[in-house]
């Protein structure tokens, strides 16, 4: 509710402020009033957002546990890719492609982490992105027929993803 009120205040004040600013010269008093309402709207919005995030995290949704779960699932899938590559490298690469597509959703799921602080979020995302880049390189190397390079980066991507999970 607080978030909605904040959004409404922010939007109406933006429209009012933009109109007052458009005049030649701007109506500075109206612009000042709009900025004040926007600031209040932002306070409401941010407070409401934080409360929502805490609530969903308390229900086990969108929190660290869900993130960990999705990473564990990805790690299991990569283990399957590691087994598959011994039999059929093309199938393994296809599977790896699917894992990478699934991982793209991680960013959206990770947004609640921001309530832990931007530094925590930054560290988790840096670690995750490195893992993703290594897995991307493994995919490219397999596609180009460089199996040893692919294997090396599949392993390091896996290890890095495990590190991300531990970081959580």
């Amino acid at each position: 509710m607080k978030k909605l009120i904040g959004n409404i205040m922010l939007t109406t004040a933006l429209i009012g402020g933009a109109i007052a600013s458009a005049r030649n010269p701007p109506l500075w008093i109206a612009v000042g009033g709009a900025l004040g309402v926007m600031a209040l709207g932002i306070l409401f919005r941010r407070q409401g957002e934080r409360e929502e995030l805490h609530k969903t995290a308390a229900h086990g949704k969108g929190g660290k546990e869900e993130l960990k779960k999705s990473l564990e699932e990805a790690l299991t899938e990569i283990e399957k890719v590691m087994e598959e590559k011994e039999r059929d490298i093309e199938k393994a690469r296809e599977k790896l492609g699917k894992v990478l597509e699934a991982l793209e959703n991680f960013t959206e799921k990770a947004q609640p982490l921001r309530i832990e602080g931007i530094r925590v979020y930054g560290e988790v995302m840096t670690s995750f992105s490195k893992a993703e880049r290594h897995l991307n390189r493994a995919w490219s190397a397999y596609a180009d027929g460089y199996i040893r390079e692919g294997n090396a980066y599949l392993e390091s991507g896996y290890a890095q993803l495990r590190e991300t999970s531990e970081l959580l």
Partner: protein, 579 residues
């Protein structure tokens, strides 16, 4: 484990080809070709293009088709180098020809042209070193062009279905663009470049509902998705809320005709507000991102010291950034002191503010292209001119020369971020990409400046044959600043609104709304339609469908039209087309 220099695989198997002589040479040659073509065509028709996607396709053709040994990451180096060489064209042709048009080019030694623009090319790359981690790895911005190029690079290994969609998109987009451009058999009337929906719906003439028929812009929206919806909403605010209210309140001068009202409001009210919002929004974004940038810097410092598990040093050491900042400062100081006759104190101030401005402008342009693919270069140039004219005591030649440094730096920064996004998606090693870009980017300004000089000697600049529209626009900006008709009050009001918007908790909101007020509605509508289609498809068919089907098709739409612009540039240089 013994390693080859610059390679990451042990002996016994051929190293994974990434930075190879073939890739670098091909990238330089193709980049030089594009730079020469776009310099000439840009001064005639007013457009340029980064050319990454075309370079990626050419790269596949030559590396795989002829040399029979190209890899995904090697081709990524081809497109990185080619676009690095080519991208500085836009910064050069926006600024340097203005000196020729004003007859001021003889006041500056040509060597300064090369130094200023080459310095800009290197600075744009070094200044975004810490931003790569922040924008690509932590904030995960979309960078639609970078995403499209990655799709092309991965096509050979992505299966026949994705390749089909990519080529289908390319062909549709290229054919429609050709029909629009070649006036034969009355075809341009079938598919015009713009459609005036307002006239078709019999709306009052002051309501602007003109839509560009551009599949490239639609494709950009298709890749951007949700962020672009804010741009669309901002466009609606600008054109369909502010304009009618301003008209109803009688704030428009009586001598402005009804059909010119929308253009008047855009030019004198909403666009300057948009520029202010972009600046305010990006400064707030920078402040909010400081903890993330600190994480990025810390991570960079650690990563550049140690090699990873595969023996690679993946990050460029932080001293490259420090070196870049010092180089920028020294170059701007020497230029201001030698050419401007400003005295040491003023020259120091000019250099200091110049460096800070290049960093902020690079950040803004990288953020903007990352979220939406739009790059507000002309708005930033206006602000650059304003700042530089003030700092240099209205010294026009020095202002334009330093403006060239800024212009080349910010276009280079945006291009490098797109390339690094592509690199991330194909698993390239960032430090390698950044090193080859640093080694080759300075070539672009030399090519562009040489072509500008040749054109000046052959035809002159600023006439019917070579109108140089961007340089003429810069000349008008200089005159506007000197004449005191720059709407600084709008910049300040917009800046305050943008600053607060970016503190709202929606990442980059100030920049997105600012961009929507800065861009003409002509392009916002097809772009917004693309974003809507993306969102609806994602909800109905799921994210996987977007990755599997929508992205390759959208990438094709972007590449098809971009390829045709290069074709047009080449045909213009060859004298086949006379625009």
């Amino acid at each position: 484990m013994e390693r080859y220099a610059g390679q990451s695989v042990t002996k016994g198997e051929e190293g994974y080809r990434e930075v190879t002589p073939a890739a670098v040479v091909l990238g330089v040659l193709w980049g030089a070709f594009m730079a020469a073509s776009f310099t000439y065509a840009g001064m005639i028709m007013g457009f340029t293009s980064g050319g990454s996607a075309i370079a990626a396709i050419v790269g596949w053709g030559i590396l795989r088709g002829i040399l029979k040994k190209g890899t995904v990451v090697e081709n990524n180096i081809v497109q990185t180098v080619a676009s690095a060489v080519n991208i500085s064209v836009s910064g050069v042709i926006f600024t340097i020809p203005a000196l020729y048009i004003m007859g001021l080019h003889q006041e500056i030694n040509t060597m300064y042209f090369f130094l200023a623009t080459a310095a800009g090319a290197i600075l744009g790359i070094t200044f975004i070193i810490p931003l790569r981690k922040q924008m690509i790895e932590i904030d995960r911005l979309r960078f639609p062009t970078g995403t499209a190029v990655a799709t092309i690079l991965k096509t050979p290994g992505s299966g026949i279905e994705k390749a089909r969609l990519l080529f289908f998109g390319m062909i549709i987009s290229a054919v429609i663009y050709l029909i629009q451009q070649f006036p034969i058999f009355g075809l341009p009337h079938v598919i015009p470049e713009v459609v005036d929906l307002g006239a078709m719906l019999h709306l009052p003439t002051w309501i602007n509902l003109t839509v560009a028929v551009s599949l490239m812009v639609f494709g950009m929206g298709l890749i951007t998705g949700r962020n672009g919806l804010i741009v669309l909403a901002g466009g609606v605010l600008s054109y369909y809320i502010i304009t009618p209210v301003v008209k109803a309140l009688g704030w428009i001068p009586a001598d402005v005709q009804e059909s010119a009202i929308s253009g008047y409001v855009y030019g004198t009210m909403t666009r300057p507000l948009g520029i202010g919002m972009l600046l305010g929004g990006s400064i707030a974004g920078l402040i909010l991102s400081l903890p993330v940038i600190a994480v990025a810097m810390k991570s960079l410092a650690q990563a550049s010291k140690v090699k990873d598990k595969n023996g690679n040093n993946e990050e460029l050491p932080i001293y490259y950034l420090i070196g870049g900042a010092i180089l920028a400062f020294v170059l701007l100081l020497v230029t201001a002191y030698k050419l401007g006759d400003l005295g040491l104190g003023r020259s120091l101030l000019t250099a200091l503010i110049g460096v800070a401005w290049i960093f902020i402008a690079s950040l803004l342009v990288a953020m903007s292209t990352g979220m939406t693919d739009w790059s507000p270069v002309s708005g930033l140039s206006l602000v650059s001119v304003m700042i530089l004219l003030y700092l240099t005591h209205k010294n026009i030649p020095l202002t334009i020369l330093m403006g060239a440094t800024v212009g080349v730096a910010i276009s280079g920064a945006a291009d490098m971020m797109q390339d690094l996004k592509t690199g991330h998606m194909v698993g390239a090693i960032p430090s390698r990409q950044q090193k080859v870009e640093l080694l080759t980017a300075w070539l672009g300004p030399i090519i562009a400046l040489t072509v500008v000089g040749l054109i000046w000697n052959a035809y002159g600049i600023g006439n019917d044959k070579v109108p140089a529209p961007q340089a003429m626009a810069l000349k008008s900006m200089v005159e506007a600043v000197l004449g005191g008709s720059v709407p600084i009050d709008k910049f300040i009001a917009g800046g305050l609104l943008g600053f607060l918007l970016s503190l709202s908790g929606v990442p980059g909101l100030g920049v997105l709304v600012g961009l929507s007020m800065y861009l003409p509605m002509l392009y916002i509508i097809p772009y917004g339609l693309g974003c809507i289609v993306n969102e609806i498809t994602k909800r109905k068919k799921g994210y996987e469908f977007i990755v599997e089907k929508v992205l390759p098709f959208a990438a094709g739409l972007m590449v098809g039209e971009a390829a045709m612009t290069l074709l047009f540039a080449v045909l213009t240089v060859a004298g086949v087309l006379h625009p």
